[in-house]
């Protein structure tokens, strides 16, 4: 047989052809593969804002002086607070917080100006709705910073001397500190995880449920062609999804690509292989498509919560961090953010690359073994 004939006779081709037809006709899967990236991107890109802005603030200004107004202006200028209105009494301020009209109330007492004039420490009070620790944390630190800034400005005005210390912060990689920039690369990782585990495992289980897997095994197709034909289409889908999300991310959120795209696509092979291994593994355990879906969702949860996709891994208790270390997504997120946001290359990410390759080899070896057993 010539090489050309051999390539043509490879039974992987009809499998691939069939998979693409089925993929096109299966509306649910097709929808998941096209809409999901867009929806995820919009949802997570816009909705997940870990930086707290525009908390409604009411002010009880009993001092009614230029100084008290200057303090309010400093607070509002932090952009953490939006002034929703003055209130006339403490009771009214409390009611505003209770009713959710305000998340914080600034109380400036009548003696604010007199104390300042006498050179004593003037005291103002911030009442904060601290039910949500993340929001209140940032409200409190913003208020303290604003007060200190105002205080330093007053000292500088009085003494005519510059403040002795100043720390100038330069936020690298994401200077405007936009959560979207941090989240969008993560969306790529999460989407690939969903496609490779959920879509792949249900596609294989469907063949078993309908009796076509049995039919295929009786043909001379061979285990390798069968598995490759089943898996390769999803690898291609994964790459398309990744590209689409990056393009959308660029247009909508101004996602930068600071590093090398070929390096990113290369690292992605390892991640996709590892995730496919998990998908294949799920397909050998699940008895029905519904079970495959449940197992995949069960696997998705730790990925979303513990990989560092949204919540910083540094803030997690140690056992949770260990679980995160077993997830391929944890490493792939570092690769994505490293290449897209920081513009680093393989020299900085080789550790993640090695671990991903290790996980991929292990997961694929285990799942292929198990899969072969189920078809024999």
């Amino acid at each position: 047989m010539t090489l050309r004939e051999r390539v043509r006779a490879w039974r992987f081709w009809p499998m691939l052809w069939k998979e693409f037809i089925q993929m096109r006709r299966d509306r649910l899967t097709f929808g998941m593969m096209t809409f999901l990236p867009a929806v995820q991107l919009m949802l997570f890109g816009y909705a997940i804002q870990t930086d707290v802005r525009h908390l409604p603030l009411v002010v009880l200004d009993e001092s009614r002086s230029a100084e008290s107004r200057a303090l309010v202006t400093t607070m509002v200028n932090t952009r953490t607070f939006d002034l929703v209105g003055p209130v006339a009494s403490r009771a009214e301020a409390l009611r505003a917080i209770e009713h959710g009209e305000a998340r914080a109330a600034l109380v400036i007492p009548p003696d604010y100006l007199t104390k300042l004039a006498r050179g004593e420490t003037a005291v103002a009070q911030l009442l904060v709705d601290a039910a949500d620790p993340q929001t209140s944390g940032s409200a409190m630190s913003s208020a303290l910073l604003a007060a200190q800034a105002r205080g330093l400005a007053l000292i500088a005005a009085r003494t005519g001397r510059a403040p002795p210390i100043e720390v100038r912060v330069r936020p690298w990689y994401n200077p405007e500190q936009r959560s979207a920039l941090f989240i969008v690369p993560g969306v790529i990782g999460v989407l690939l995880t969903i496609t490779m585990t959920l879509v792949t495992s249900t596609a294989i289980v469907r063949e078993r449920e309908r009796g076509t897997l049995e039919q295929l095994i009786v043909t001379p197709i061979g285990g390798t062609s069968l598995m490759l034909g089943k898996l390769v289409p999803f690898v291609l889908v994964g790459y398309v999804q990744m590209t689409v999300v990056m393009l959308l991310g660029r247009v909508i959120f101004g996602l930068p690509v600071r590093g090398s795209l070929p390096t990113l696509y290369l690292f992605t092979v390892a991640f996709i292989t590892a995730s496919l291994g998990i998908g294949l593994l799920i397909s050998t355990v699940a008895k029905s498509q519904a079970q495959a879906m449940q197992l995949s969702f069960f696997f998705m949860l730790p990925n979303i919560l513990l990989s560092g996709y949204i919540f910083p891994r540094e803030a997690m208790p140690e056992p949770a961090q260990w679980i995160g270390l077993a997830l391929p997504l944890t490493y792939f997120l570092k690769v994505l953010r490293g290449i897209l946001l920081k513009g680093v290359g393989a020299e900085a990410l080789w550790r993640e690359g090695v671990i991903l390759c290790g996980l991929a080899t292990f997961l694929l070896a285990v799942s292929v073994r198990r899969f072969r057993k189920t078809i024999e």
Binding site: A9, R11, P14, K18, R210, T212, Q215, V218, I221
Partner: protein
């Protein structure tokens, strides 16, 4: 080419403590329509799976279409066609796509394949439904398509595992006509069934009971051997005996 399509010698299959097939000696001639009968759990499916090279026998040997079922299972798979009760069709592919897929997997390509499929679907009356999704076909048409998919590559040997379960009588009759056509062209056919009228259409029958071969012969020889008026009575008597032994 040998006149024997299937030969097994002392074929055994054990699953742990359970003996599914014990000491099976079977010989099927080329071009024969051979029926494999027996109650559920008698070892029919296990036997077919071993012959198709899907399952490795615990001991014993066998050949199908001249290939050793253990050492040459790959070649066995290329020489046979297999159709089960579940049909194994892709509901979301059309009739034409199902045919094209299976025939390509069996090694047909290009113009040769297209010519063969045109002739084959015409012979089975599928031409007008080529563009229809397999999932929208009735049971009888699905069965016809499944047979077409299993035979487009002109297998020497065809395994039919309860191929007519859940299909209406008219479709069953048409199906058996196709079977005879295939047999007349030299295809050897091994069929399992629970319909006794179908069993009587076979040239020779083998009865399995609890993994043992307890009778082989033409339908007439079988009824004489078991001293029963019909194959159906043989079957029922056998099943009663099986259940008695199990209890």
């Amino acid at each position: 080419m040998s006149e024997v399509a299937v030969r097994t010698v002392a074929l055994h299959k054990r699953f742990g403590a359970l003996v599914a097939v014990e000491g099976l000696d079977l010989e099927i001639k080329r071009g024969e329509v051979f029926g494999l009968l027996g109650p559920n759990g008698s070892g029919k499916t296990t036997t077919i799976r071993m012959l198709c090279g899907l399952m490795v026998p615990t001991s014993g040997t066998g050949t199908v279409a001249g290939f050793d079922i253990v050492r040459e299972s790959e070649s066995v798979r290329g020489a046979i066609g297999y159709m089960s009760q579940r049909f194994g069709l892709y509901d979301d592919l059309t009739v034409a796509e199902n045919l094209r897929f299976y025939s390509t997997v069996y090694g047909l390509h290009g113009r040769e394949r297209d010519a063969r499929l045109a002739e084959h679907s015409a012979a089975l009356g599928l031409t007008e439904r080529l563009g229809q999704l397999a999932g929208t076909l009735s049971g009888g048409w699905k069965q016809r398509l499944a047979l077409a998919c299993a035979t487009a590559h002109r297998p020497q040997m065809l395994f039919l595992d309860e191929p007519t379960a859940g299909v209406d009588p008219a479709a069953r009759r048409a199906f058996w006509q196709s079977i005879y056509v295939l047999a007349s062209e030299g295809t050897t056919i091994l069929v399992t069934t629970h319909y006794m009228d179908e069993a009587e259409r076979c040239q020779r029958l083998a009865f399995l009971s609890r993994g043992h071969l307890i009778g082989v012969g033409t339908p007439k020889e079988i009824t004489t051997q078991f001293n029963q008026p019909s194959i159906e009575e043989v079957f029922i008597a056998l099943q009663a005996k099986d259940e008695g032994a199990a209890a």
